[in-house]
Amino acid sequence: MSEFASGTLSAKNIHLSFGSNHVLRGIDLHVEKGTTASVIGPSGSGKSTLLRVMNRLIEPDQGDILLDGRSVLKDNPDELRRRIGMVFQQFNLFPHKTVAENISLALRKLRGMSKDEARDEALAQLDLVGLKHKADARPANLSGGQQQRVAIARALAMKPEVMFFDEATSALDPELVKGVLALMTDLAQGGMTMVVVTHEMGFSRNVSDIVTFMDAGVVVESGPPEKLFTDPQTERLQGFLSDVL
């Protein structure tokens, strides 16, 4: 039973070029409601760009994006992004606002909550990530791991149907990675639909329901983690796994 109002997300035949640089060359990705898809691959393979296309921070040149089976390309992109939470490698908290204000800003301005309602909701979300006592601190006074958990709380406060994680632990000191991964694991087990771009092979293997290996703007291989990690079919994935494992 899911704790979240999760949705099913599909990207179909996504193409994107920056000038002559063909970054995404016909990507398909399907994430069933309540499951976690991880996307792995070398740097520059287009993984992070794919996330930004799927929540329309970048518009695709070609292809379709479906949420619960319905194309979202004609919707207002701002409204689409309210349904998809995103967590970044560099946290991107707002440094001029307190931790609680980081979370309440969107609740007040986009969800129309009053100041008190938004603060209560922000505190509730902070409690879930174990940081209620930091509500009135500034992001700069938090460790990287704490900042990332605030960023996750900020995204969750919008009650998203899907969560994107863009290398959420890559900027963290090794000892702080564990706490953020534990939180992501909780979300996955709680039934959130997640797309996780990651270099954490342990997370990809143990938590995700499906793993997609991308290289040079195409999906090279995709399947359940036990299959991809133990029996890679392509030379490119074999080479990648021997480099990172």
């Binding site: 921070l57 992004r81 998809i84 995103m86 908290l93 969107a106 939180l183």
Partner: protein, 254 residues
């Protein structure tokens, strides 16, 4: 000794100074402050508009801001003040019946400082990390709201020292409005010193004017250094180990 006495008489004639200082307090200082503060406020509004036009996605807006900024930053202040004061003064006189060049002086100072302040704001806004805009948009804010609520406020905070420097420049440049021939009650510090020096043939009133300017600008300069240092050092940091991290939630405990 003769030379020293002569210089002392020229620059430090206490009697000449004593005569001009009350007038500087009563008329000069308020006028200098009015000119600088009002032009500073209008210039800040113009500057914000220019900065937003300068980073706009609309090419026409960017060009207008660029041309305006290039021209007003490229002209000597005295030329701008004369052209605007004498050029537009008669038009205003016909429209409003006012013969005072005072509004023209404020307009010229505002238009000039707006060009500089626009560049200050623009560089501040553009120095904000791109991730801030991206994160705000990812929450579902429009481009305009993201800029207004998150990016622009951070950009402004960063350029506060430069803004105060611009205000210091404005205090000094306000002395140039004497070129427009202000009425007796509208004269600022410099012109009162200049008039007194011309009447007495002694330069001490200029020294008095200098002291007035320095009393305004030196504290401001140190104020700039203080905010600058504070912003560089940041607020006192109090980082804690991520002790709670490992025990958050059920996944970690399972």
């Amino acid at each position: 000794m003769d030379i020293l006495n002569q210089l002392a008489d020229t620059f430090f004639d206490w009697e000449a100074m004593g005569q001009v200082i009350p007038k500087m307090f009563a008329i000069g200082l308020p006028n200098t402050l009015i000119l600088a503060v009002i032009s500073g406020i209008i210039g800040t509004a113009i500057g914000m508009l220019l900065a937003l036009m300068g980073i706009s996605r609309n090419a026409a807006a960017r060009w207008i801001a660029r041309i305006y900024t290039d021209i007003l930053r490229g002209l000597p202040p005295v030329l701008t003040i004369l052209v605007i004061g004498f050029g537009f003064g008669p038009v205003i006189r016909e429209l409003t019946g006012s013969t005072s060049p005072y509004p023209m002086a404020i307009a010229a100072l505002s238009l000039m400082s707006g060009a500089y302040i626009g560049e200050i704001f623009r560089s501040g806004i553009q120095s904000v990390d791109k991730g801030q805009l991206e994160a705000t948009r990812a929450l579902g804010f429009s481009y305009g709201s993201s800029m207004r609520l998150v990016v622009v406020p951070q950009g402004i905070r960063r350029v506060l020292p430069a803004l105060v420097n611009q205000f210091i420049a404005l205090i000094k440049e306000s002395s140039l409005v004497f070129m427009l021939g202000l009425l007796a009650t509208e004269r600022e510090i410099f012109q009162i010193g200049k008039d007194a020096a011309a009447n007495s043939g002694n330069l001490s009133p200029y020294v008095a004017a200098a002291i007035f300017y320095l009393a305004l600008t030196i504290p401001l300069t140190h104020f700039v250094n203080w905010i600058d240092a504070r912003m560089r050092a940041g607020r006192p940091e109090k980082k804690e180990p991520d002790e709670a991290a490992a025990v958050v939630g059920k996944g970690a405990q399972a």
